[in-house]
C-alpha cells in the first residue's frame, strides 16, 4: 500500500499530473480569446512544480513505491532544467503558434504531459518505470510533431518519428526482457546486485546491446539518428525546441539510469559500445551538417554531434564522467533553446525563417538578434569564453581520464570540422548583405525578447563563471 511518504516524495509529479488534467478540462470551457490565460497558467504550473522539486529535496537518494521511483540530486537537476526549457519553449513559441493558428489547448496539455514523462523517466528506479516514462514522453511528442496536421512536412515527420520511435521502444523492451530473463530483476537496484551473480552473462550482454540501441535512438546518436533531421525540420519550431532541449535531458537521464544505475558493473561492455557510437555521431553529425542549407536541419545534425560529445562523458563510467555528461546535457539544452529562440523570434505568419539564407545580413537589420544568435553559435561551436567550451572541456577531460585519449583526440578533430558550419551561419549574418526584397520583422512580444536575451547572455555569463553549476552536477553523483 502506498503510504503518505511515497506521495510526498512524488509530490512534484502528482502536482503536475493534477494540474495538467485540470488545465485540460479548463481548456474545454475556454473561449479562444481566453487562451492566453492557459499560456500563463501552464507557465505558472511549471514554476510551482520546479519549486516543489527544489523545496523538498531530500539529502541523498530516497525511493518511493518499493523502489519504482528514485528522488535524488540527478533527478532534481534534470527536472529543473527540463522544466526551465519547457517554460522557455512556451514563451518563445507563443507568437509563433498564434501566427500559425496552432495556439491551441492541446499544445499546452501535451507539452505538460511530456514533461511528466521526462520527470518520471529521469527518476525511474525500475525497468517498467523507464518504459512508462519514455512512452508518456514520446507519445506526447508524436502528437506535438503532428500538431500542424495540414502541413505535409509535419505529417511526414510525425509518421517517421512514430515508426522509428515505436521500433526503438520495441528494441528497448526486447533488451529489457532479456536482462530480466538473465537476472530475474526489474528494479534497477536489484538488477545491479544480481548482475555479478548471473548465470547467463551472455544473455545479459545480448540484452544490453538492445538496451543500448534503445538509448541511442532516444539520444539520436548515429547510426540511429535518421529521424532527427526530418523531425527537427518538419515539426513546428516550438516543438523542435522542446525535442532539442527537454527531450535530450530526459534521454541522458534514461541512459544514466539504465546503464549506470542498473548495469554499472557491466561498464566494460557498454563503454566500448558508447565509444563507437560517439565516434560515429561525431563524424556523421559534423560532416553532414556542412552541406545543409536549412538551419533547423543544420541544428539537427549539430545535435547528433553534440550527443556524441555527451557520450564522451558517459564512457568514463565514473562520477566524474557522469557529472561531465550531465553538465553537457544542461549546457546543450540552454544553447539549443537560445538558437531556436532566435529562429522563433524572427519567423512570422507564412515565413519560417529556417533557411540559412534568411539570415543574410541580419546584423544590419536586427543587430541585437544577430548578436544573440552569434553567442549561441559560438557556444555550440565550443569557443571560449562561451559556456559550450567548458562543457566540451569537461567531457574531453572525462574521456582522457578514462584512458581513452584517442577518443578525446577524435572529439577535438571533429570540433574543428564542426566549427566550420557554425562560422558559416555567423558569416551569413554578419558578412553578407541582406537580400533585396526580403525583410526582417521581429516578433513584438516583449517577454520573448527579454527572456531570449537573458537566455543567450546566460551562455556568456555561465562561461565566465560555471563553478556552481558544475558543483551542483557533481553533487548529484556523490554517494
Amino acid at each position: 500500500m502506498p503510504n503518505i511518504n511515497d506521495i510526498l516524495i512524488m509530490l512534484p509529479e502528482f502536482f503536475l499530473v493534477t494540474a495538467a488534467c485540470i488545465l485540460l478540462l479548463a481548456d474545454a470551457f475556454m473561449k479562444p480569446a481566453e487562451r492566453v490565460y492557459l499560456h500563463w497558467l501552464s507557465i505558472g504550473v511549471l514554476v510551482v512544480t520546479g519549486y516543489l522539486v527544489l523545496r523538498y529535496q531530500p539529502e541523498g537518494a530516497v525511493t518511493a513505491f518499493n523502489g519504482m521511483f528514485i528522488r535524488d540530486g540527478l533527478g532534481a537537476v534534470l527536472k529543473l532544467f527540463a522544466i526551465l526549457s519547457t517554460i522557455l519553449v512556451f514563451i518563445y513559441g507563443r507568437p509563433y503558434m498564434v501566427d500559425r493558428k496552432l495556439f491551441v489547448g492541446e499544445f499546452y496539455t501535451l507539452m505538460l504531459f511530456a514533461v511528466i514523462g521526462v520527470m518520471l523517466l529521469v527518476s525511474a528506479g525500475n525497468l517498467v518505470m523507464i518504459y512508462l516514462g519514455l512512452e508518456l514522453l514520446t507519445l506526447s511528442s508524436y502528437a506535438l510533431v503532428a500538431l500542424n496536421r495540414d502541413s505535409s512536412l509535419s505529417s511526414e515527420a510525425a509518421i517517421k518519428y512514430f515508426v522509428l520511435g515505436a521500433l526503438s521502444s520495441g528494441m528497448l523492451l526486447y533488451g529489457m526482457s532479456m536482462v530480466y530473463g538473465a537476472t530475474g530483476a526489474l528494479g534497477l537496484a536489484q538488477l545491479h546486485e544480481a548482475i555479478p551473480h548471473s548465470a547467463m552473462p551472455h544473455l545479459l550482454v545480448f540484452g544490453l546491446v538492445f538496451m543500448v540501441i534503445g538509448v541511442a535512438f532516444k539520444l539520436g546518436v548515429a547510426p540511429f539518428h535518421m529521424w532527427i533531421p526530418d523531425v527537427y525540420e518538419g515539426s513546428p519550431t516550438a516543438v523542435t525546441t522542446f525535442i532539442g532541449s527537454a527531450s535530450k535531458l530526459a534521454a541522458f537521464g534514461m541512459a544514466f539510469r539504465l546503464l549506470a544505475t542498473g548495469m554499472g558493473d557491466f561498464a566494460q561492455h557498454w563503454q566500448i559500445m558508447l565509444a563507437a557510437l560517439a565516434v560515429a555521431s561525431l563524424a556523421i553529425g559534423n560532416i553532414v551538417a556542412i552541406v545543409q542549407s536549412n538551419l533547423k536541419r543544420l541544428l539537427a545534425y549539430s545535435t547528433i554531434s553534440h550527443m556524441g560529445y555527451l557520450l564522451l562523458g558517459l564512457v568514463n563510467a565514473g562520477p566524474e564522467g557522469y557529472s561531465a555528461a550531465m553538465f553537457y546535457a544542461v549546457s546543450y539544452a540552454l544553447m539549443s533553446t537560445a538558437a531556436f529562440g532566435v529562429i522563433l523570434a524572427l519567423s512570422r505568419a507564412g515565413f519560417e525563417c529556417d533557411n540559412i539564407d534568411d539570415f543574410k545580413g541580419l546584423n544590419q537589420r536586427a543587430p541585437w538578434m544577430a548578436f544573440l544568435m552569434m553567442l549561441a553559435l559560438f557556444s555550440l561551436a565550443g569557443v571560449p569564453p562561451m559556456f559550450g567550451f567548458y562543457a566540451k572541456l569537461l567531457v574531453l577531460q572525462a574521456a582522457i581520464h578514462a584512458g581513452m585519449l584517442w577518443l578525446a583526440i577524435v572529439g577535438a578533430v571533429f570540433a574543428i570540422i564542426g566549427l566550420y558550419y557554425y562560422l558559416r551561419v555567423v558569416k551569413v549574418m554578419y558578412f553578407d548583405k541582406p537580400e533585396a526584397g526580403t525583410e526582417v520583422r521581429l516578433q513584438s512580444d516583449f517577454t520573448l525578447r527579454l527572456v531570449l536575451s537573458l537566455n543567450a547572455l546566460v551562455l556568456l555569463g555561465l562561461g565566465l563563471y560555471w563553478g556552481p553549476l558544475l558543483n551542483w552536477c557533481k553533487q548529484a553523483f556523490v554517494g
Binding site: P384, P385, I400, A412, Y420
Partner: protein
Amino acid sequence: MFNHLLSLLIWLPIVGAVPVLLAGSGRPNAARWIALLMAILTFAISLFLIPQYNPDVAGMQLVESHLWIDALNVHYSLGVDGISVALILLTTFVGILVIVGAWEVIQDKPHQYMAAMLVLEGLMIGVFCATDALLFYAFFEAMLIPMFILIGIWGGPRRVYATLKFFIYTFFGSIFMLIGLIYLYLKAGSWDLHTLSTLPLSLTEQSWLFFAFLIAFAVKVPMVPVHTWLPDAHVEAPTGGSVVLAAVMLKIGGYGFLRFSLPIVPDASHQFAWVVILLSLIAVVYIGYVALVQEDMKKLVAYSSVAHMGFVTLGVFIAFMLVRDQGNTDAARLGLQGAMVQMISHGFVSGAMFSCIGVMYDRLHTRLIKDYGGVINVMPWFGFFYVLFAMANCGLPGTSGFVGEFMVILSSFSANPWIAFVAAFTLIIGAAYTLYLVKRVLWGEVTNPHVAEMKDINGREWFVLGAFAAAVLVLGVWPAPLTHLMDSSVNQLVQVLANHKV
C-alpha cells in the same frame, strides 16, 4: 588600484566596448570618442606598470589569484614578468593608434568596429597576463572572435575566405594544445603554469606535449609550413586589423613558446630544437624570396612578417643548443634577448608598414604595387615615414629592426656559424624586397594619373605614423631600457632551460 592593475587593464577595454556599442550607428562620433578615451585610459594605466614593476626581481609580479572554478582547481591568476610588461605596453600603444587610424576610414558601422577593437585589446592583454593555463587558453581562443568579425565585416573582397581560414587554422592549432593541457592537469591536479613547470614528465610524454604546443604556437607565429593563413588574412583585413594582427597577435605565438614549451617540456624542446631552428631558417630565407616576388604590398609585408618572426623562434630555440650542448649561457641569454627585442621591434615596424599601406589604400583603393610609382613627388611627408619604416624593416642600424636581428645572429654564431650564416641572409634578402618595394612605390615618375591627385598625409595620419616612427627610432638607438626591463626574466628563462625534467 595597484592590487588589481592587471585586471583593470584587461577588463577596462572589454567593458568599455559596451558604451561604444550602445552609442550605436546613429552617433558614430560619440562611439569614436568613447573608444579613443578607453584606449587612452588603458594606455595610461598600462604606464603604471613601469614604476610598479621591479625589473631587478625575477618571477611574476603584481600577482592576482582567485579561485575561479573550485571543482577543477582553475584559478583566475594573473601576473607579469618583464617580457609580459613589454608586450602589454606594445599592445596598449598599438591600441590607441589603430583607433585613431580608423577614425574616418571606417564609415560602415564604426561603433561595432571600435568595440571589436577594444574587446580584442583587452583579450590580448589577458593572454599576456594569465598564469593559469586554462585562463590563458580562454583568452587565447576568445581573441579569435573579434578578429574574425573585424576581417569578415570590414575586410577586402575575399574577406570571407580569409577570415574563415584564419579562424579554422588557429582553432585547429590550439585544440591539440587543449588536449595536452588537460593531460597535464590530470597529472598535476593544477592548471598553474608554475606548478606545471616543476612537474616531472618522461621524455615520451614531453615529446607529445611538445608537438601539441608546437602546432598551436607555430600556427600563431606563424612558422613555415602553417603560415599560409597569414598572407590571406593580412591582405583582406582592414588596416587596423592588419596592424593588430602583425603587431601583437603574432607575438602571442612567440610568447606561448616561452610560457609553455620552454618551462613545461624543456627536454623535448631540446631534443626537437633542430626542427624549430630548421623551420625558422626556412622562414628567413625561403619566405624572404617569396616576399620578393609579391605584387600586392600587403602580401609582401605579410611574408616579410613571417621571415622576421623566424628570428624570434630561432632566438628562442638556439638558446637550447647553447645552454644544453655548450653550456654557453651568455650567448643563450643574448639569443633570448634578441628574440624578445625582435618581437617588440617587429610590432612597431610591421604595424607602421601596414599603417602606411593603409594610408595609400585609402587614397587609391588598390594595394597593387604596379598602380603606384612616384608617390614621393606628391606625398613628401608620407615618403619620409615610408622610407624610415622600410629601413627599419630591412634592419638598418639605428632603427629597432637592427637590434634584435643582430643579437640573434650573434648568438647563433656561437652555436653554429653555419646557422648564423644562413640567418644573416636576411640582411640581403630583407633589403632586397624592401628596397625593391620602395623603389617601385615611391621613386620614379608619376605614371598613374590618380597618383598625381593624392594628397599628403593629414594631421591624424601624421600622428599615427609619427608615433610609430618615434618608437622605432628610440628602440633602435637606445634599447637599454627595454633589455633592462626583460633582463631578469630572460635570466630566469635561461635557468629554466638548463633544468632537466627526466
